[in-house]
Amino acid sequence: MIRMLLLVIALMGTQAFAADPAIFEFDDPTQAARFQQLAEELRCLVCQNQSLADSHADLAGDLRREIHQKMQQGATNEEIVDFLVQRYGDFVLYRPPVRPTTYLLWFGPALLLVLGFGVFIVSMRRRNQSLTPTLSEAEHRRMAKLLEEEDL
């Protein structure tokens, strides 16, 4: 059983290398870093919770190859991302673009925070008001008397 587990772990190890960008050749280390960063920002369509850099899916490999080739041809990051968005939609982006359909996604949490804070302030004010005692003349005198008695 343990041997089986070890085998599985060993195989997983070798699989991880399959996604290693080192199989692509770059002119200089900054290019390699740029490639890695791009691949990490893009989502694999097959294993949707993995980036193109992490995914072992066949398609992820093809898309990495495509990105590499475009980089070699001198494409900018923006051009490469646009290429993928045109084909696969905004879904390939881990960071969704800011546009009217995503305003709620981007600004919703901040809006909720501000709203919640407003409600908090208003309710605190109300509570303070209701707690501030308003006594009539007679009650004042009676309270003063009671306090005096307590002092004795």
């Binding site: 066949d58 398609l59 093809d62 696969y88």
Partner: protein, 177 residues
């Protein structure tokens, strides 16, 4: 009374919102190609490799472009639907044989029957990337002008044919396309 009903209404609203989100299929990624012209093909045909097939070959009539491969398990179930579609309608079905071996693909057609008008060969998946394919099978319905009007991710079912494809094809005809 209001101080209890307002939070309750907000809570019910949130429950409905999340319930709707949970019931959506995360694998159905909306295609950016809907209502856009179909991308180019420009690859050899499976049965006549010396001839290429182009997007312009699909114009003039509605057409279904079906991405399939002999190694794809879901394609086997879908194949029955395609055969029935070919038998019962005039809709041309263009296969896109995705990252497959030619021999295996031909064998598949010999064994299971061939619903395709013609088949384009995408040996290295390049055309697949151009068309935004991320899993086999996928199908695209093109109108007579070669604009993609519907995309099916995963196997076509007869229900989809009846409820989505056929009404759309009807609408192309009434538009005089």
């Amino acid at each position: 009374m209001l101080r209890y009903t307002i939070p309750l209404i907000i809570f019910i609203g949130l429950v409905l919102f999340f319930a709707d989100g949970l019931q959506r299929d995360p694998r159905q990624v909306p295609s950016p190609f809907i209502d856009k012209p179909a991308p180019e093909l420009g690859v050899p045909r499976l049965k006549t490799p010396d001839q290429e097939i182009y997007r312009s070959d699909l114009l003039g009539k509605p057409a279904l472009v079906n991405v399939w491969a002999s190694w794809c398990v879901a394609c086997r179930a879908e194949h029955e639907v395609l055969l029935r579609l070919a038998r019962e309608t005039q809709l041309p079905i263009i296969g896109l044989n995705y990252k497959d071996k030619r021999e295996a693909a031909l064998q598949w057609l010999a064994n299971l029957g061939d619903p395709y008008t013609t088949i384009a060969v995408d040996a290295d998946g390049r055309v697949g990337i151009e068309w935004g394919v991320y899993g086999v099978p996928e199908s695209f319905l093109l109108d007579p002008q070669g604009v993609i009007r519907y995309k099916q991710i995963g196997p076509l079912t007869w229900k989809v044919v009846e409820e989505e494809l056929l009404p759309l094809i009807q609408s192309f005809e009434t538009q005089g396309g």
